[in-house]
């Protein structure tokens, strides 16, 4: 391959991977059947990228207003995260289309981060930090349904901004609803029918020349090569191509073994078994709070 051709190929691969994290939306493939985008709680705690950006901006401005009222200057930060956080399926389910465009999003995310770094934190006076994140005297710990202990101070502008935007109960409703979604996900990943489906998928991957014992394995294999490849554009291109190839085989195997249907069925059974009436009420409150915040953000 000539140097010019190699550069063009690299550019094409990199552009596709970089753009994918910015543009993938709710996917309905016109090329063959699409896998189901199964998410816990019927996707109640999931979000589109556009909604996440809108709410993030509102929350940042609420933090800035709170800090200003306390005589402190806070500069609202732009949301730098790509769309991959919202668009990556938590179970690792892939569609053929997404796999072909972005692979697992690993090299693409690396390229995105290279062009859009996280803003550097500045150092501030202790009084500024106390105004932002609160004081120890007002620190509380929430124990969430998935076992996570989350501690924060109720008197900081961060906590205040969240209640101002979403409602007085948001600092408990949001982490609890997310904890419920995680509890469901963790239970699905231990479900016998789910594990049996993963074994079928694993056999398919072996036959396709990409042996993997679980859905994390191919991602970790790509990621383990990233640090070394990052310093060499040719190696990065090769890794990007390998990632796309593996992810396409992965998505195809998921389709062939009906993995997303197995996840859907396992999740349905788990939710029926685990979720109480009070849990469902919490999720409903989460959805209502979020909907209200979104409505005010677009008003």
């Amino acid at each position: 391959m000539s140097t010019t051709t190699a550069r063009r190929t690299l550019l094409t691969v990199l552009l596709v991977l970089t753009a994918a994290g910015c543009s993938l939306g709710g996917e309905q493939s016109a090329r063959g059947p699409a896998a189901l985008d199964v998410r816990p709680l019927s996707g109640a705690t999931a979000s589109t990228h556009a909604d996440a950006v809108r709410l993030y901006d509102r929350e940042e401005h609420a933090v800035a207003a709170c800090m200003s009222a306390r005589g402190q200057t806070y500069t609202a930060q732009p949301r730098t995260a790509s769309a991959r956080g919202e668009e990556t399926n938590p179970y690792g389910l892939l569609t053929v289309r997404k796999a072909a465009q972005d692979g697992y999003g690993i090299v693409g995310e690396y390229l995105y981060r290279r062009s859009t770094p996280v803003p550097a934190s500045e150092s501030h006076q202790a009084s500024w930090q106390r105004a932002l994140t609160g004081t120890e005297a007002h620190r509380v710990t929430l124990r969430l349904p998935d076992g996570v202990n989350l501690a924060y101070s109720t008197d900081g502008c961060v906590a205040k901004a969240r209640t101002e935007l979403y409602g007085a109960d948001w600092n408990t409703v949001e982490p609890t609803a997310v904890g419920l979604a995680n509890r469901v996900l963790n239970a699905v990943e231990k479900d016998a029918n789910y594990l049996s489906a993963v074994r079928r998928w694993s056999s398919c991957m072996t036959k396709a020349g990409h042996p993997a014992k679980d859905l994390q394995a191919p991602r970790q294999a790509v990621d383990s090569r990233l640090r070394k490849a990052a310093s060499d554009e040719t190696a990065l291109r090769a890794l990007g191509n390998d990632e796309l190839r593996t992810a396409r085989a992965d998505a195809r195997c998921q389709l062939d073994t009906d993995l997303s249907e197995a996840v859907r069925d396992a999740q349905r059974a788990v939710e029926k078994r685990l979720l109480t009436a009070a849990d469902k009420k919490t999720v409903a409150r989460y959805v209502a709070d979020r909907r209200r915040a979104l409505a005010s953000a677009t008003a």
């Binding site: 995260a81 961060v158 995680n182 990233l226 849990d279």
Partner: protein, 124 residues
């Protein structure tokens, strides 16, 4: 004043918040959290921020390559400008939650994140 509030917090801690199912208690202060540099997500090999933290300032699709995240028992977001989403899977998969600015997890025991903080995404 601090003692009174702590007592109030403990009293509240004996009752689950009926509406959400979350339990709330007053959290103990941890001197070790002050070892976390401003702007960093810190992972500790012990609970309650004990030990010297491992720190990341940027996004990572694979934190498991870093010993302190691969073996994390507590976490602290000392970011002054961004919240951070934590994942139990690499490449933003698995369980996840947002650790807002100044929030922390005193213990990851009995969670999927115990010795397994696998990826992170800032400014979400």
């Amino acid at each position: 004043m601090k003692r009174i509030l702590t007592k109030a917090g403990i009293a509240l801690g004996s009752v689950a918040l009926a509406t959400t199912g979350a339990f709330i208690t007053a959290a103990p202060a941890s001197a070790a959290l002050s070892d976390c540099p401003s702007g960093g997500l810190c992972a500790y090999l012990g609970v309650n921020g004990s030990g010297t933290p491992g720190v990341v300032y940027g996004d990572n699709t694979n934190l498991l390559q870093y010993n302190k995240f691969n073996n994390a028992e507590s976490l602290y977001n000392n970011g002054s400008s961004c919240n951070v989403r934590i994942y139990s899977g690499t490449g933003y998969t698995g369980s996840s939650y947002i650790l807002a600015k100044g929030y922390y997890n005193g213990s990851l025991a009995n969670t999927v994140y115990w010795h397994n903080v696998a990826s992170n995404d800032w400014c979400v």
